[in-house]
Every structure is written in structure tokens, then in C-alpha cells.
């Protein structure tokens, strides 16, 4: 054997048994370990030697070495050069197709194939294998140079040209990646990772992902709607294109200024408030007729005399919203399926939980002494908790009937209480929303009180979101679950609370739209703008709550915890603040739901969310670095990631379905917005599309969207996705496709 990385291993181990003693005599040369490379060409033809043998006799070992199972063990990727056999077979089968070759001709075939072997793919394949060798650089370099020489010899010029061609495209792509790869906030994230490890980092990476998503959406909304609106705002609108919708001129009532876009009645009714701060915060007054809200956008096709510009605002509005939803769905689904695949399919069950925690437990990204010590403590703590949990599981099986009954009774009781709390919260939100609606048409004694009435719904929702989760975490202590399960269940309940609050708010807004259709003096004139305002207020309140909760709670908490040694003030334990990842991720998901829901009615919401995300990033990071101690409880990143991605998808549908329903069934208000004169949004779009497409295209389009096409399409897609899921062993995503298809077919 030629020189190897380590000297020959002759297992010096103190084992008492005779059989193991014999094993020591078997020299397992380290160089024959898969992954280390030798120059010995005999390796190509020799049988694979045994690694990590723990057999009893030398004779048995050589027999065992030839067993297929042993050979399988050694085939770590990229290890043995005997892989050439496999490669030969692969090349032969791919070149000769599936014809069967008579046996005697096979030998010749092999030689021919070998000569053509050093094609570009083969070179790439071998280069990849060399990269994967688990040995040091010197050997890898020697192997690689050998490969280069061999390829040059065998293939000569043609191969070189071939490789160069492919190389140009590859090098362009690589150059692009290397020069333009811009990673936002990289130094901040590195700092967080070094101090707090992987779990907290995943929160910030999620935040950054949402930032990119919202930036893309926000720029789209801004560019396609607000910019044309601004540029063309004061031009003389030649509204003859209003004939698109075949309505009378009186509704349009064009004069100069903002009143083009909202009818004069509406303007007169809404620009009464004067105080600037109130105007900005509550989105009323001047703000109401700005680009901020849906009500501002015109139904006219703007057509100016000097520069021929033809911009169909209703159509663009609809298309942008569609793109907004479809793009979000694609990106979120992709990210979710990645996370799901990583955690559940590759992650396996909790069968190996101790091994995973021990062998995969250390976080190599940590760079600080304090963080390292804390990580060690948290791993130890985790082990102890797991061991205790095993004991607890055994104990719980041994419980007698009486204890079991008590515990189940307690659990049912707590669940009922929580259900009651949730319904009470829902009712509170509903009535608060009603109060806000009333405040639109009546006015209170002072401006400040009016502002409060405006904000009732949002404040109620945020208040409940702050108060109730700690109550949940106290209640769950009575239920006698294991600590891990407690955390998960509390999280689930908080999720229900947040989603339920949005649903109740939507229910109250739905009654508004009902009322608006009926008319009368106390109805809201432009219900879409009102919906936009509500969501705008929710976004603002959520942002302030998150920022101030961080600043006003964590700094004092750390201040006090540092001063007080005994850690209790009047029996209330004061701990230094810990960064609670699930709670914070839930806040982000909530903000994102508001963004999706609100974008149609208030086009600037994505950009507002972008700004709020930037501010939240810096606030959270500064608070984290100055105040927080890393949490004692270790965090299972991948399982939690997949859970939060699933949550994002569910929230997406929670946001998309009401908007879609509104398009199909709700009447747009008569005084404002791009769809003033039509019965539903979908009708308006149908008219526009029909007018502008040739008849054939329209026929095809209407056929595609009719039931006769969609149902067979659904069936075929189900079959395809089931087949794909079966072959690739991915989770079937046909649920998403089915829901989408049904929604489309339903209008």
C-alpha cells in the first residue's frame, strides 16, 4: 500500500474478551477506508476491504467483506474508485438504449465505451466525486490533476472545446452569483447567529424573507397603480372612454382636482376633519381621497390629448391583485414544501431523539463564550427533561382509574373555559367593530374621542392579543401535560385567537357591505375605503404594539432583573427577558395576513408593511443583543419552521377567500372606486376583456373558465399530482390545487 493519511491503524484497545483481541490483529489500513485516496491502481481491481469490522476471526472477516451487505456499507458516496464499474454499466445502458446485447459482444462494447468515456459529463461526474472525497486537499489536488491529464489525453481538442462552451454559460452564471449576490443585513444576522444560535436566527431569516416578498409586491402595487395615478392625475381626463361601461356622464362628473375620482357628494362628506395627525392616523379626511385607498382610483380610461396614453385603471387594478395573490401563493407554497420535506420526510420520527440531540446537538455557528456555556447548559437541561419525560410517560401508564378521570375532567374543563374565552373575545370584537361603524356616521363631543371611537375595533383586537395568551399559558398548567406539549398547545391556542379575531372583524365588515347596498342616510358611502381604513388601522396598531411591547417591556425587565438578586418582587418571579421565538413568528405571520387581506382595498399596505418590517428588525435585534439571554429551552428549528410555513399557507387562504368572495358577490359602491357602475367586480372585468379581445379568444377563454372544462382538469391534475407524489415521495399538494380550481369555477 502506498502512503496514506494516517499510519496503519492497529486498534490498540483494552478489551478483555478473547474474541476482540483477535480482531486487533486484523490490520484495517486507514488508507482503505472509504474516502481516503491512494495512488495504488490495484485499488481499482481489488475487492473492497472491510471497514469498522467487529468480527471475531480474521477468516470470517475476509468472507464477510465480500458479502453484498458489507459492500453496501462501504459505498459512501464518492469513496471507492470501484465506482467505475457502476459507471460503466450506466454509460452502456444509456448509450445502447434498451436493446439486449448478446453476451459475447459485451466485452467489445465495454472497451468501446471506455474510450469514449471521458466526455464532458464524465469529467463533471468525476470532478464531483473528487470534491466529495473525505480526505485532505493534497490528495484531492493530485487526483484532480490526474483526472485533468487523463481527460486531455483521451479527448484532446474536441472535448476541450465542448467543455469551454459549457464553461462559458457556467462561468457567466457563477460570475453573476459572485458579483451580484447581495445578502441584506448579513453582518447583523451573523452576530445574532454567533450569540444566540440557530433558532433565533431562523426568526430573523423569516423576517428577511417576508421583507423581500412584501417589497416585491409593494413595488408592483406602487408602480402600476400609484405612479400612473400621480402622473396623470391632473390632466384633463377625456372621459369618453367611460362608454366602456355604458353609463351616464352624471356619475363621472368631471372637474379638476381630486374630485374627479370621488364623486362630489363623497368629497363633501368626508373632508370635514382638519387636524393633521388625526387625518394621518385614522386615514380619514384628505387621506381618504388619496392614493392610499381604493376609493380614489378612477374608473376612467385616462386618455390625454397631447401624449397618447391609454391606461385602463379597472383592468390594471384587477390584474395587479391577481398577480399579488398568485405570486404570494407560489412563493409561500414553494418555501413551505421545502420546509415540510426537510423536517418530516428527512427528519424521521422521534425514534432517534437522544442520538439526534447528542450527535447533532452542538451548534457550530456559535462564537461567543457566554453563548457556548449557555448552549451547553441548555443541552444538558434538555437531556434531563427528556429522561424525566420518559419516566413520566411510564408513570402515566401506571395511573389508576381515579387519577385518570380527574385529569381528563380537568382537561375538558380547561378546554371549555378557553372556548368560552374565545367566544367572548369574538363577541367583544364584533361589538367594537359595530361601534366603529357607528362612529363613521355620528360624531362624538371631541376630536380625540372621535379618534378613539374610530380605533375601537383595532384596539380591542390588539388588546385581546396581548392579554389572552398569558392567560392561556397559566390555564394550561392545570392540564398536566408534558412541557413540550404545553408549549405547542399554547401556541396553537394563540393561533386560533389571532385568526378568530380576523374572522370576526371580517364578519362585521360584511354587515357593512350589506347595509351599504340598502342605502339610507346612516350608511357608509364608500364601503371599500372603509374596509381599507380598518385594515390600515389594524396594521398601524399592530406595528406600534410590537415595537412598544419590545421597548417598554424588555428594557425595564432586564433593568429590574439585573438589580434584584432574589428574583422575586412580591412573589412574582422576574426573569431576565428571553426571546420567545413562536410568539414573535406569530406576530410576523399576522402582519402578513393583514397585508394580503388589505392590499386590494388599500394598495399601500404592502409598502407600509415593508417599512414596519425594517423597523421591527432593528428594534428586535437591538433589544435581543442588549437585553436578552438565550432561552434555556432548545428550539427544534426544522419542525417549527414547517409548522410556521403551514400556518402561513392557512392564513393565505384566510386572506384570499374573502377577497375573492367580495369580487364575485359584493356590489361595489356607487360613489367611488374603479368599479363604480357595475354590479360586481368580476362583471366589470368580463365586460372589459370581452370588449378588447377578438371573439375567438373570448370564446376560448369563457370555455376555459366554465364548469365543463374545470372539472376534467381537476381530475387530470389530481391523477398527475398523485403520480408525481408517488414517484418522488413528496407530500401531495393537490389540496391546494383543488381549492384553487373550485374557487375559480365557483363564480
Amino acid at each position: 500500500m502506498s502512503s496514506s493519511v494516517h499510519p496503519r491503524r492497529s486498534g490498540k484497545r483494552q478489551k478483555s474478551t478473547e474474541s476482540h483481541q483477535e480482531m486487533i490483529d486484523i490490520e484495517t489500513p486507514r488508507s482503505s477506508v472509504p474516502g481516503s485516496v491512494t495512488h495504488d491502481d490495484d485499488i481499482l481491481l481489488s475487492k473492497p476491504t472491510s471497514r469498522h469490522t467487529n468480527l471475531h476471526t480474521g477468516h470470517q472477516s475476509s468472507i464477510m467483506a465480500r458479502m453484498p451487505s458489507q459492500q453496501a456499507i462501504q459505498s459512501a458516496p464518492g469513496a471507492n474508485l470501484t465506482r467505475k464499474d457502476c459507471h460503466r454499466r450506466w454509460v452502456r445502458s444509456s448509450r445502447s438504449g434498451f436493446q439486449s446485447i448478446p453476451n459475447d459482444e459485451r466485452e467489445d462494447q465495454i472497451e468501446d465505451v471506455e474510450d469514449e468515456d471521458y466526455s464532458h459529463e464524465h469529467h463533471e461526474h468525476r470532478a464531483k466525486l473528487i470534491k466529495q472525497y473525505a480526505s485532505n486537499m493534497k490528495r484531492k489536488r493530485e487526483e484532480y490533476q490526474k483526472l485533468q491529464k487523463a481527460t486531455a489525453l483521451k479527448y484532446g481538442n474536441q472535448g476541450h472545446r465542448d467543455r469551454k462552451q459549457k464553461g462559458i454559460w457556467q462561468s457567466v452564471k457563477q460570475g453573476f452569483h459572485e458579483n451580484f449576490s447581495f445578502s441584506l443585513w448579513r453582518s447583523h444576522l451573523k452576530e445574532v447567529e454567533g450569540q444566540f444560535g440557530n433558532g433565533v436566527l431562523s426568526y430573523f431569516i423569516f423576517l428577511r424573507w417576508l421583507f423581500y416578498l412584501n417589497l416585491m409586491l409593494g413595488l408592483m402595487w406602487f408602480g402600476f397603480l400609484c405612479v400612473p395615478e400621480i402622473l396623470l392625475a391632473h390632466r384633463n381626463v377625456v372621459s369618453f372612454d367611460y362608454a366602456t361601461f355604458n353609463i351616464s356622464q352624471s356619475i363621472a362628473n368631471t372637474t379638476t382636482g381630486a374630485s374627479i375620482y370621488c364623486s362630489p357628494d363623497y368629497i363633501a362628506n368626508t373632508t370635514s376633519t382638519t387636524h393633521l395627525f388625526i387625518v394621518i392616523i385614522s386615514g380619514k379626511g384628505q387621506m381618504e381621497c388619496s392614493q392610499l385607498f381604493y376609493g380614489n382610483y378612477t374608473a376612467d380610461v385616462v386618455h390625454t390629448p397631447n401624449i397618447p396614453i391609454y391606461y385602463s385603471m379597472p383592468f390594471v387594478y384587477f390584474v395587479v391583485t391577481l398577480v399579488h395573490f398568485i405570486l404570494s401563493l407560489v412563493l409561500v407554497a414553494r418555501s413551505a414544501s421545502n420546509a415540510y420535506q426537510k423536517s418530516y420526510i428527512e427528519g424521521g420520527s422521534s425514534v432517534h431523539q437522544f442520538c439526534n440531540k447528542l450527535f447533532g446537538g452542538w451548534d457550530y455557528c456559535i462564537c461567543e463564550q457566554k453563548a457556548a456555556e449557555l448552549k451547553m447548559k441548555s443541552i444538558a437541561h434538555d437531556m434531563k427533561v427528556d429522561l424525566a419525560e420518559e419516566i413520566r410517560a411510564i408513570e402515566s401508564k401506571l395511573r389508576n382509574k381515579k387519577e385518570k378521570c380527574t385529569i381528563y375532567l380537568k382537561r375538558i374543563l380547561v378546554n371549555l373555559i378557553i372556548l368560552g374565552i374565545l367566544s367572548a373575545a369574538g363577541a367583544a370584537i364584533y361589538y367594537a367593530a359595530k361601534e366603529t361603524i357607528d362612529s363613521q356616521t355620528t360624531s362624538a363631543s371631541s376630536a380625540f374621542l372621535q379618534l378613539l371611537r374610530n380605533y375601537t375595533a383595532s384596539l380591542t383586537i390588539s388588546g385581546l392579543n396581548i392579554i389572552l395568551p398569558p392567560i392561556f399559558s397559566i390555564l394550561i398548567l392545570y392540564e398536566n401535560y408534558s412541557p413540550n406539549f404545553e408549549v405547542q398547545l399554547t401556541l396553537l391556542r394563540t393561533v386560533f385567537l389571532k385568526l378568530a379575531s380576523i374572522i370576526f372583524l371580517l364578519a362585521s365588515l360584511f354587515t357593512v357591505t350589506r347595509n351599504a347596498a340598502s342605502g339610507g342616510s346612516d350608511t357608509i358611502l364608500c364601503w371599500e375605503t372603509y374596509v381599507g381604513q380598518e385594515l390600515f388601522k389594524l396594521v398601524v396598531v399592530n406595528f406600534f404594539v410590537v415595537v412598544f411591547a419590545t421597548i417598554l417591556v424588555e428594557f425595564p425587565q432586564r433593568f429590574i432583573a439585573d438589580r434584584i438578586r432574589s428574583q422575586t418582587i412580591c412573589c412574582i418571579p422576574i426573569y431576565p427577558p428571553e426571546f420567545q421565538i413562536p410568539k414573535n413568528v406569530l406576530d410576523l405571520v399576522y402582519a402578513q395576513v393583514l397585508c394580503w387581506l388589505g392590499a386590494f382595498y388599500c394598495p399601500m399596505v404592502p409598502l407600509m408593511i415593508v417599512v414596519s418590517l425594517v423597523v421591527i428588525f432593528y428594534v428586535k435585534k437591538i433589544s435581543l443583543v442588549y437585553n436578552n439571554h438565550p432561552s434555556q429551552r432548545p428550539y427544534r428549528t426544522s419542525k417549527s419552521n414547517s409548522f410556521f410555513m403551514l400556518l402561513l399557507i392557512i392564513s393565505y387562504f384566510l386572506a384570499a377567500i374573502p377577497v375573492g368572495y367580495g369580487w364575485a358577490n359584493l356590489t361595489p359602491s356607487k360613489q367611488c372606486g374603479p368599479y363604480r357602475s357595475q354590479s360586481t367586480v368580476i362583471d366589470a372585468i368580463t365586460i372589459i376583456v370581452k370588449k378588447n379581445l377578438p371573439t375567438i379568444a373570448w370564446d376560448i377563454l369563457s370555455f376555459i373558465f366554465s364548469a365543463g372544462f374545470i372539472i376534467p382538469l381537476i381530475l387530470i391534475m389530481r391523477i398527475i399530482t398523485a403520480f408525481v407524489a408517488f414517484t418522488l415521495q413528496l407530500p401531495p399538494i393537490d389540496i391546494i390545487i383543488t381549492i384553487l380550481a373550485v374557487t375559480i369555477a365557483n363564480y
Binding site: 452569483h177 450527535f359 462564537c367 457556548a372
Partner: protein, 246 residues
């Protein structure tokens, strides 16, 4: 305000407007092209005022043999040189001893397995854990995001095998647990419990030792293993404030 601006923009005679925009974009494109050309023409990679020691071929060589990008290789080189400038300025192939590395590299300083890492990646004859630049690059490559899981598993096994006998036995596991959890956290009974649980889960042939196959079988299912052994997902950490971006 917006109205005034849009006024000005649109009221310019249309052709001058168009010409201005066109000429601006053309000038910008030409500038970009020139800069790009300069970059490609330079064989030596120059950054931050420092002359580099790599030619294009050497950089490509490293790139072919490891899982790092060119930027990462250059950054790694900078950090390496900064560790012991007096020695390394003269001879880039010099080796640094294990003690120096354990003291100065922040990733290794707090790592409980730092000495094992140095030993495993060391290619020196005396096998004392000293690393040269090639070994350092090798280590960064294994700990990078693009390295395949199997490679990381292979090295993890070598690191955890404290007595270098290609098996993880009870002594190895005891050492592992005590290093991982700190010295005084778990008492003897807990440690024994833990080790027996590990063997229950992983040891398939019940001989109180873990071979590479058993180890790999267990670790390849671990969902967080890849993320945790990934020091470079955010790029190799830049140095202090004085060094600008490469």
C-alpha cells in the same frame, strides 16, 4: 408636489425628454461594461488595497476542490493571514499550531470539540493538530452550506471518535457527553442512563459500540444536523471594521 413634478416631466418637449433618458442609460451601460471588462482582464484579484497572493488559476483550483465560492475563499485567506501575519506573509504554506488556532479563531475557541477538529483536518506528518491553509480551507468547505450531508457525517464520525479506532464505544460516548453538556451538569446516573438510551436507539447489533454504518443511519435522519454544521451560510465572517467589503 407630485403634481408639479409630473408637470415638469411631461411638459418637457417630448423628444428632448426621450433623448435625455436614452443618453443617460447609454452612458451608465458603458460605464458598467468598462468596469466589468476590467474585472475579467485582471488575472490577479485585487481587493481592498491589498495585493492578493492568488492567481486566477489557483483560485479556480480551490474552487474546483472545495464547496466554497471565490468570495469565501478570499475572505478565508484574509482571516488566515490575520491570525499570524509575521509568519504567513512570507510563506502562505506555513502551518499554525493547534494552540494558536484554539486561542485565536473565534469559531474554534468556544467549541468543545475544537482540538478534535484540528486533529481530524490536519494533514501534517506529526499529527499534532497543526493546520496549514489548505487544511483550513478544507475545514471551511466541509462546514459550508453546499457540502453534502454524507461528507459532514463522515467527518463528524471522525471527530467524535476520540480514541481514533473507527468505533464509537462507551468511553468515547462518555467523553462526548461530558464535553457537550459541561463538566458538572449531569450526574453519573444520568450519564449512564443516557448512554444506554443511545445504544438502545442506535446500536443495531448490540455490541456496545457504534460503527460508522450505525452512526450514519442515525444521523442522516437528524433534521437539524445540516443547519448546525453550517458555519458559512452567511458567508465567512468578515474581520474588523477596518477591512472593507471584498
Amino acid at each position: 408636489m407630485a403634481a408639479m413634478f409630473s408637470d415638469w416631466v411631461i411638459d418637457l418637449p417630448v423628444d428632448i425628454h426621450r433623448d435625455l433618458i436614452f443618453s443617460f442609460t447609454v452612458i451608465r451601460l458603458l460605464k458598467l461594461a468598462k468596469e466589468g471588462q476590467k474585472k475579467i482582464k485582471n488575472k490577479d484579484v485585487i481587493m481592498g488595497g491589498q495585493q492578493s497572493v492568488f492567481t486566477e488559476e489557483e483560485l479556480q483550483d480551490y474552487k474546483d476542490l472545495t464547496y466554497l465560492s471565490k468570495k469565501d475563499i478570499i475572505r478565508a485567506h484574509k482571516r488566515w493571514v490575520a491570525l499570524a501575519p509575521e509568519i504567513l506573509e512570507n510563506d502562505i504554506r506555513a502551518t499554525l499550531s493547534a494552540e494558536k488556532l484554539l486561542n485565536d479563531l473565534p469559531e474554534l475557541r468556544v467549541n468543545p470539540f475544537a482540538d478534535r477538529l484540528c486533529k481530524v483536518f490536519s494533514s501534517s506528518e506529526s499529527n499534532d493538530g497543526s493546520l496549514c491553509f489548505d487544511d483550513f480551507i478544507d475545514m471551511m468547505s466541509v462546514f459550508s452550506e453546499r457540502a453534502p450531508k454524507a461528507l459532514k457525517i463522515e467527518y463528524a464520525f471522525r471527530v467524535y471518535d476520540f480514541n481514533d479506532d473507527d468505533l464509537i464505544d462507551i468511553a468515547d460516548l462518555t467523553e462526548l457527553v461530558s464535553r457537550l453538556c459541561g463538566e458538572s451538569e449531569l450526574n453519573q446516573e444520568d450519564i449512564e442512563n443516557l448512554i444506554s438510551k443511545i445504544f438502545q436507539e442506535a446500536d443495531l447489533d448490540n455490541d456496545s459500540m457504534l460503527t460508522f454504518a450505525e452512526f450514519e443511519h442515525v444521523i442522516s435522519k437528524s433534521p437539524d444536523f445540516e443547519k448546525r454544521t453550517d458555519m458559512i451560510s452567511l458567508g465567512i465572517q468578515g474581520m474588523t471594521i477596518t477591512v472593507t467589503r471584498a
